[in-house]
């Protein structure tokens, strides 16, 4: 067949766009489009011709879960812009988490009630892994609320949760728990330890009580973070840019 014949080209493109070109013929046409730019242009023209028919379809709102699945698959939250590179980097992990979200969700609890229970210092504490799993399960995304991409739980000597750390697109949200008894004349500083970088990088001072939003270090998304660390420092933080006394470390989990 001569695919340069305009009439044949148009007929094929029209049926491709209409949807009546099926099966093998459709696949073959798709391959031909890659080879023949004129066929591609013909197809675009037919798309413009026919897709106007859709203006006669009244819009139907899809279920909200569709958007949640899309943002989970793409691995982002929507409150803030981010770089495409950072998104792609975490794609594999998010694909997995979106798979897990396709499971029946009867065990989903709301994030707020989960947090309340956590901060009330209920008697038994989940291990960091369980907490992270729960956060994964309750990751209800919406367009307006920044949602954590990564989380960490800083645990004390007896595995009690001291801080919950949630990394969103452009900030690090930290909450201290009632398990934490701060020293009045000391501050607690958060660090990230990255692969290939000799010294820990300071992320800011942790709150001694309540919640604090720390700015996200510009390097945060660019480096491979091995762990987070909390150090004991004089008031106002490390005097020399290095941790004075490392108290705890925590693993960062990607949601």
């Amino acid at each position: 067949m001569n695919y340069r014949d305009p009439e044949l080209r148009d007929a094929l493109a029209a049926e491709y766009v209409l949807g009546t070109l099926r099966g093998q013929a459709r696949r073959r046409f798709q391959t031909l489009m890659m080879q023949f730019p004129s066929l591609r242009e013909s197809t675009w023209l037919w798309e413009q011709h026919l897709h106007g028919m859709n203006e006669r379809l009244a819009p139907i709102e899809p279920d909200q879960a569709v958007w949640q699945h899309i943002s989970q698959r793409l691995g982002f939250t929507l409150a803030n812009a981010d770089t495409r590179v950072a998104t792609d980097k975490t794609n594999t992990v998010h694909e997995q988490s979106s798979e897990s979200l396709k499971q029946p969700q009867s065990n989903v609890v709301s994030l707020s009630s989960f947090k309340t229970r956590l901060w009330q210092g209920a008697a038994s504490f989940a291990t960091a892994a369980a907490i992270i799993l729960a956060v994964v399960l309750v990751k209800q995304q919406s367009i307006d609320i920044p949602v954590a991409q990564q989380v960490a739980v800083v645990q004390g000597a007896e595995s009690q949760a001291l801080w919950l750390i949630e990394v969103t697109d452009n900030s690090i949200e930290v909450r201290s728990t009632s398990n934490f008894t701060p020293l009045a004349n000391k501050d607690y500083e958060l660090w990230m330890i990255a692969k290939g970088i000799e010294n820990p990088i300071s992320l800011g001072l942790l709150p001694k009580s309540g919640q604090l939003s720390l700015p996200k270090d510009s390097q945060f998304d660019a480096v491979d973070i091995v762990a987070l660390a909390v150090s004991l420092e004089p008031l106002n933080g490390s005097p020399n840019g290095l941790p004075t006394e490392v108290l705890y470390t925590a693993e960062l989990a990607v949601l």
Binding site: Q48, I60, P62
Partner: protein, 180 residues
């Protein structure tokens, strides 16, 4: 239409640059239209939502590939969801005849609003109006409902050869009319 195109083009350009908020706004503005398209074709809500989801993932990744030659932004987006739905029709072998018989079509029928005084007639409407009623119906069934030639036969109760040539000639006539 021009205003809509400008808005969507702005959002798509920002999306191409990785702006997630722009992408969310683009979704908000267009998902109802794209969902109507995929629901009409696939007939089943869960499949239609799957097609929609995959279309927007593709739109995010391919936003940089949009160019004016591909038509309006909405046209380009509709193409993406339609081709996805067509792939799914084949993969899931959704039997359209069954749907028509058991009344599912009525449940998920996207309302057609080509009647009434507030509807502006486009050139496409005029050109479609020039087709024979059955020709128009065959094209509608194929386009909106994603029916194959064979399925259109089942629906209009005419020989396959007749349906094929009607659709082919209908499209030729449509093109002549549209490019006048």
């Amino acid at each position: 239409m021009t205003m809509e195109q400008d808005t969507l083009l702005g959002l798509l350009s920002a999306t191409a640059a990785g702006d997630k908020q722009a992408f969310a706004a683009l979704y908000k503005q267009t998902s109802g239209q794209l969902f109507a398209v995929s629901l009409k074709m696939l007939g089943r809500r869960e499949l239609a939502e799957e097609a929609l989801q995959e279309a927007y993932v593709k739109i995010w990744h391919n936003a940089t590939e949009y160019q004016h030659g591909k038509g309006l932004v909405l046209t380009w987006m509709i193409s993406i969801v339609r081709y996805r739905a067509l792939d799914m029709l084949r993969y899931h072998k959704v039997r359209k005849e069954d749907q028509f018989e058991d009344g599912q079509e009525a449940t998920f029928e996207a309302p057609m609003s080509d009647e009434g005084p507030d509807v502006t007639k486009t050139k496409l409407d005029d050109c479609m109006g020039e087709l024979e009623p059955q020709q128009k119906q065959a094209i509608h069934l194929a386009y909106y409902n994603g029916l194959t030639h064979h399925e259109v036969v089942g629906h209009l109760d005419l020989p396959l050869g007749t349906i094929k040539s009607w659709i082919r000639r209908g499209l030729q006539q449509l093109q002549r009319c549209l490019t006048l």
